[in-house]
């Protein structure tokens, strides 16, 4: 997720797993029940898991290898763009409403998948309206109306 020079391989995965295990152990060490009426409290299972994750991480970090093939040129940029567009979509979904948010999301995502601006926008508009009508009106799944609140 950091710079573009980072190579995804087992060493990186193992290190990430070790960090995960460390945070889990650190945050979980203080977990104790105020009244212990059973021999195994709420701490044991998370501790056991952080041990397993840590051992897996250690194995992978020491052994290394299995580098992921670098993606074709341009792919990385598109992955970042789509991921960012999805994150923005997640934030705007409730606020702008399904129809608008979907339209906005479809533009960059459609572009990344090779559609033209016009096609992506048109698809997004049709999609937003159709999905809203289908789920909210027909199937009774309540969706946010957002900016179009008064109209819908």
């Amino acid at each position: 997720m950091t710079g573009s020079r980072v190579v995804l391989n087992d060493r990186l995965l193992g290190t990430a797993a070790l960090a995960f295990a460390a945070v889990m152990a650190w945050q979980g060490y203080g977990l104790e029940a105020p009244f212990a009426y059973e021999p195994v409290g709420p701490r044991a299972f998370p501790m056991l898991l952080s041990l397993i994750i840590g051992l897996c991480g250690l194995w992978l970090a020491v052994k290394g290898g299995n580098p992921v093939e670098p993606a074709a040129p341009g792919v990385k940029g598109r992955v970042f763009a789509v991921a960012a567009a999805l994150a923005v979509y997640a934030f705007l979904f409730q606020w702008l409403g399904v129809v608008f948010a979907t339209f906005l999301m479809s533009l960059p995502v459609g572009r990344a998948f090779g559609g033209s601006w016009f096609k992506s926008g048109a698809a997004g508009l049709v999609l937003g309206v159709a999905v809203f009508l289908l789920f909210d009106k027909v199937l009774d799944v309540v969706l946010p109306t957002g900016l179009l609140g008064g109209l819908l």
């Binding site: 997720m1 995804l8 391989n9 990186l12 995965l13 797993a17 995960f20 977990l31 104790e32 029940a33 105020p34 009244f35 059973e38 021999p39 195994v40 409290g41 709420p42 044991a44 299972f45 998370p46 898991l49 952080s50 397993i52 994750i53 897996c56 992978l60 299995n66 992955v79 789509v82 991921a83 999805l86 994150a87 979509y89 997640a90 934030f91 979904f93 409730q94 606020w95 399904v98 979907t102 999301m105 995502v109 459609g110 572009r111 998948f113 090779g114 559609g115 096609k119 992506s120 698809a123 999609l127 937003g128 999905v131 789920f135 199937l139 009774d140 799944v141 309540v142 969706l143 946010p144």
Partner: protein, 512 residues
């Protein structure tokens, strides 16, 4: 036997209500489409539809029927893209492409599509009969399980997944442990204290299952799709006869039956899924045919026997994987793990007690597997052209659609922005993990089983006041531990032996 027919009668009375018949037909249709689209497999289909079914306030048995029809439909649909464009619609259809695509290139696409629909049907039908017979027996046996046995059973399920699936079992173990770790977030049932909630209200009742599944499978899949530009893959036009003839049916019959049986057995094993089953069926068939008929065998170049058997196996396995989920509460595949999540939304815990308490759910599901299978056969032979047209939907329209439906699914559960953001974050994490070939199915299994596994462990140790000896005291748990060790050790040993012999023995199953 009479007892089973009695139960089946109950089941059919549930499955034959107009609502449930309609739902099964819709599910079969959607499932086939999801299976056809490359990149979308049964897990994505079921994960996206699961919250929607719940939000539409379908009764639990109807939800389960919908999702089961989608699941089996995917196994039917996966074959279409394998045969026509040589791109498996999902992992378990990889073997189908080996002989199906060459057949299509030789102008026998119609025959390939229809014979594979037929063997899919036989596979599912054999496995459904298998469920009706095996499930009640297994459930009765499992009633005697105590917490120690359950704990051992779950360890066995994880070992199956790690041992059978991966070239890299350490990554499968890591994924399972991370899934289990995610399940510890939220209030601890026994002591009432908060674990790993980081003082967030949104995390106090745990990480939402739907969010994790849709993020890890659906969103990460969209990012992975960016890497494979499957633009302009020309589909082979279905030409020639559209239906197989009796000679072809006779030629493939025993292979189909063998594939069905292999598939069912593999499906019943917790953890191992349709991908493993179809690979096993293909290699078995190849070995048998090349021995008995060395002249006529042309596997990999369009042998109809190499198409029928794995196709029967993957359907039988998908159907068979309902057995461990229904009877033991331990799912047999990633997709049934997701279905367990559906039942959890309805506060239903699958397991042996379900057979007595909610027979309408169990037997309604089994009966609708029969009915859905007939519907799928009826849809898949005449409507194959319509499904094949799905392959020409451009990704710039398809991906926004999937993203939107995924978001609606997540939003429909709690209606919070937090869940949506979490979905995207998990999607990015899932993308990176999958790039580093960490399998996702053990993670989901861990998340589903985590709570049960911890509870059973703690309960078992409460009985003996902390003495761990109880975990391997009864014959059943000893047997399960031994099986768990065997599934881990045997594949590794076999692989090492094969390597020493230098022979390019049976190629191991491609990981999903």
């Amino acid at each position: 036997m009479n007892e089973i027919f009695g139960h089946l009668a109950t089941g059919f009375s549930v499955a034959l209500t107009p609502l449930n018949l309609l739902i099964a037909a819709i599910g079969a249709f959607i499932g086939t489409i999801v299976g056809v689209l490359p990149g979308l497999g049964p897990i994505n289909g079921v994960a996206i539809l699961m919250p929607l079914a719940f939000a539409m306030q379908l009764p639990p048995e109807s939800s389960l029927i919908l999702l089961a029809a989608v699941y089996i439909g995917c196994e039917y649909g996966g074959r279409i893209s394998s045969i026509l464009i040589n791109v498996p619609g999902e992992a378990s259809a990889i073997m189908t492409a080996l002989d199906g695509y060459p057949m299509a290139r030789q102008g026998k696409a119609g025959v390939a599509l229809s014979i594979s629909a037929w063997s899919s049907f036989v596979g599912s039908a054999v496995a459904t009969v298998g469920i009706a017979i095996a499930a009640p027996l297994l459930a009765r046996w499992a009633l005697a399980f105590g917490p120690a046995e359950y704990f051992a059973l779950m360890v066995f399920a994880f070992c199956c997944l790690a041992g059978l699936m991966g070239e890299q079992p350490v990554k499968a173990l890591l994924a399972a442990a991370v899934g289990l770790a995610l399940s510890t977030v939220g209030i601890d049932e026994n002591s009432g204290i908060y674990r790993y909630t980081f003082d967030s209200l949104h995390l106090s009742d745990g990480i939402q299952f739907v969010v994790v599944v849709i993020g890890l499978f659906s969103v990460s899949e969209m990012l992975l799709l960016l890497e494979q530009s499957v633009t302009g893959t020309a589909a082979v036009k279905p030409t020639g006869r559209t239906l197989f003839n009796l000679r072809e049916m006779a030629q493939t019959w025993w292979g189909t039956v063998r594939g069905s049986l292999i598939g069912f057995v593999v499906g019943v094993l917790p953890g191992a899924g349709a991908t493993v089953a179809s690979a096993m069926a293909y290699s078995t068939e190849k070995r048998l045919v090349e021995q008995s008929d060395p002249e006529g065998a042309h596997f990999g170049k369009g042998d109809i026997r190499g198409l029928a058997s794995p196709e029967a196996a993957n359907n039988a396995s998908a159907t068979g994987s309902f057995v461990p989920m229904l009877t033991l509460g331990v799912p047999g595949s990633g997709t049934t793990a997701v279905m367990m999540g559906v039942l959890a939304l309805y506060n239903i815990t699958p397991g042996p007690a379900l057979f007595d308490q909610r027979p309408e759910i169990v037997w309604g599901l089994i009966a609708s597997l029969f009915i859905g299978n007939f519907m799928l056969l009826a849809m898949n032979i005449p409507m194959v052209g319509l499904f094949a047209r799905m392959l020409s939907v451009p990704t710039w329209a398809l991906v926004p659609f999937i993203v939107t439906v995924s978001a609606i699914g997540v939003y429909s559960v709690h209606a919070t922005t937090f869940d949506l953001v979490m979905m995207v974050a998990l999607g990015v994490v899932g993308y990176l993990l999958r790039k580093m070939s960490v399998p996702m199915a053990p993670l989901i299994l861990g998340l589903v089983l985590g709570n049960m596994m911890e509870q059973n462990l703690r309960r078992a140790l409460s009985i003996t006041n902390g003495d761990t000896a109880i975990l391997w005291e009864s014959p059943v748990s000893i047997g399960l531990w031994a099986c768990a060790a065997a599934v881990l050790v045997v594949p590794v040993t076999l692989r090492a032996l094969a390597r020493r012999r230098g022979g390019a023995a049976v190629s191991s199953a491609p990981s999903a």
